[in-house]
């Protein structure tokens, strides 16, 4: 019995048209690697035949969506923009797609994305989030960046404690005698909080006197930094000759506040930030800084999520940081 050829083209028709095996067509449709030559042939055949995949019927057979949701506060802060870019590249290299959720604009949406993973609409989540009420089911594939939620969720971060220590050591090498740490940030238990702990440890180990100016979230950082600094300027001189700021953004704010008071970063006071932000992502550092290994953080988070690592329990992975001169410290 000869089967009538359907008027709607099938995968077999595409394979015949392209002169390749059905499996090759399937690989292209599912975004799996094939040679460029095969990929071109299949895509041309798909276009010629006006073939449309029924992606949902396809999904019933496949077990994966090849899509990962990324939760990030925004893509405006250059550190976050760079992290999203590296996560995209790490996922694309593994033939995964990135569903973006900027959580600043839509706090409620975070839970929705986590629930999508439960519903098999995405294969997993990589999240940099300080949402205090986010509920993550232990069965949801989730990798956290910068915040250790619970022992079942892997967390990737730069080595914040070592970063704080390194900042203290650099200030000591620069000959500082009295330092201060400045930060505004979340009260939630999170890795960036260790910047302060590492800094204090480093100051104590090296005999550097220090103060801390630390405020919790939802407060204007420029306002509190200005108040703190102004109360420590006497006769045009700052009480501190070294400052370690929780982020490069804070460091830039502090440089500006001091400049307006006639105090110059790098000359009158040594200022170190944290993150490693560069103008346009490739130009000079905005300030002297503890640089985060953004690419390594992204690659590690993706590897952990997609199961290439073989840990017995969910690890906290802290990746090495580097000091970079950026004009707000004297050359060493």
């Amino acid at each position: 019995m000869k089967r009538r050829k359907s008027s709607v083209p099938t995968v077999k028709d595409v394979a015949r048209e392209a002169g390749v095996a059905v499996g090759t067509v399937s690989r292209v449709i599912n975004g799996k690697p094939v040679t460029e030559e095969y990929e071109r042939k299949v895509r041309e055949a798909i276009r010629r035949l006006d073939y449309h995949v029924n992606s949902y019927a396809q999904g019933l057979k496949a077990t994966r969506t090849y899509t990962v949701a990324v939760l990030i506060p925004n893509t405006i802060n250059p550190f976050f923009g760079s992290l999203v870019n590296c996560l995209h590249q790490a996922l694309a290299d593994r033939h995964y797609r990135l569903l973006l959720c900027c959580t600043d604009s839509n706090l409620r949406q975070e839970q929705e994305y986590v629930d999508m993973a439960r519903m098999n609409k995405v294969d997993g989540i990589i999240g940099l989030t300080y949402n205090p009420s986010l509920q993550i089911d232990p069965s949801t594939p989730f990798v956290s960046i910068d915040r250790a939620f619970d022992p079942n969720i892997p967390c990737v971060a730069s080595d914040n404690f070592a970063g704080g220590q390194l900042a203290a050591r650099k200030l000591i090498e620069l000959g500082c005698h009295k330092a201060a740490f400045l930060r505004v940030g979340s009260d939630l238990d999170n890795e960036p909080n260790k910047r302060r702990a590492g800094f204090e440890h480093g100051c104590m180990a090296g005999g550097l006197e220090y103060d801390c100016c630390v405020y919790s979230d939802n407060i204007d950082p420029k306002g509190v930094f200005r108040d703190f600094l102004m109360s420590h300027i006497h006769d045009g001189r700052l009480d501190y000759d070294g400052l370690f700021c929780g982020t490069d953004y804070f460091a830039c704010c502090v440089v500006q506040i001091l400049k307006e008071a006639g105090i110059q970063a790098g000359r009158d006071v040594q200022i170190i930030g944290y993150d490693g932000v560069r103008l346009f992502g490739s130009e000079g550092y905005l300030c002297s800084t503890i640089e985060q290994p953004v690419r390594d953080i992204a690659e590690t988070a993706v590897d952990l999520l997609l199961g290439s690592h073989n840990y017995h329990a969910a690890p906290l992975v802290c990746l090495p940081i580097t000091f970079r001169e950026g004009g707000t410290t004297r050359p060493l």
Copy 2:
């Protein structure tokens, strides 16, 4: 005949558990708006019953994925990072998700995303792309930013021609006598190319003498700008007293090159960029600039894609620009 209750929970079970209508559960699952109270009840019931949606069976009934793919070179350049952020917000406000494709890292992937729209895996594409070989089927919902592909594809951009004119007018107001335009960019027919045309028009209209230093893509902008500027410095003075640069990035490069030659922007030469990039997205402008209305561009692109606009043919929408002082021009 009494039906046996399945051991796998259904939408009806969730509705009963939550004490809401089945339609409400359905709305929550499909990401449509319900009150926070209902949403919370439904999500809690889903979690208690360990209910999992079969998203593919669901998709067979729905006609939409509520997902839009965004093609963008990267999220590192602050203009692109800001645009992605605004597109995310515009889509989230309409209960759509954003699938991100950073095309710098994966040129081949662009065609894959366009093909996904054909396969109904995404509802449409918003693309800022200069890929010369990208093939877009007329039936694919596609909105372009900055590049007019063909008359069937709507395009949204800032008013680049008016931006060029405005830059010329500002240089004239600043008392400039000889100006130059500097740009490296794609040869493809695209909206940003009109910055030069508008600038030339503005210079001619106002009687301002000008030169152009324009190179096509794949060339190091800093190298060619340096060569051009150095050949126009005589006895420590630049032949030009006004410069209009194709982007803020170029303007920042030019400021740096001239600074190294002892020529100061704002004092010795008036320099205007294009884009409106701000440090950390909210601090000062990096240079005096023609600011693009990023939020309006994003909202318009999303409206065009999702069909809220009622145009007879695919329009080119050019949105108003604004001059911003950023320290590389004298105060007016």
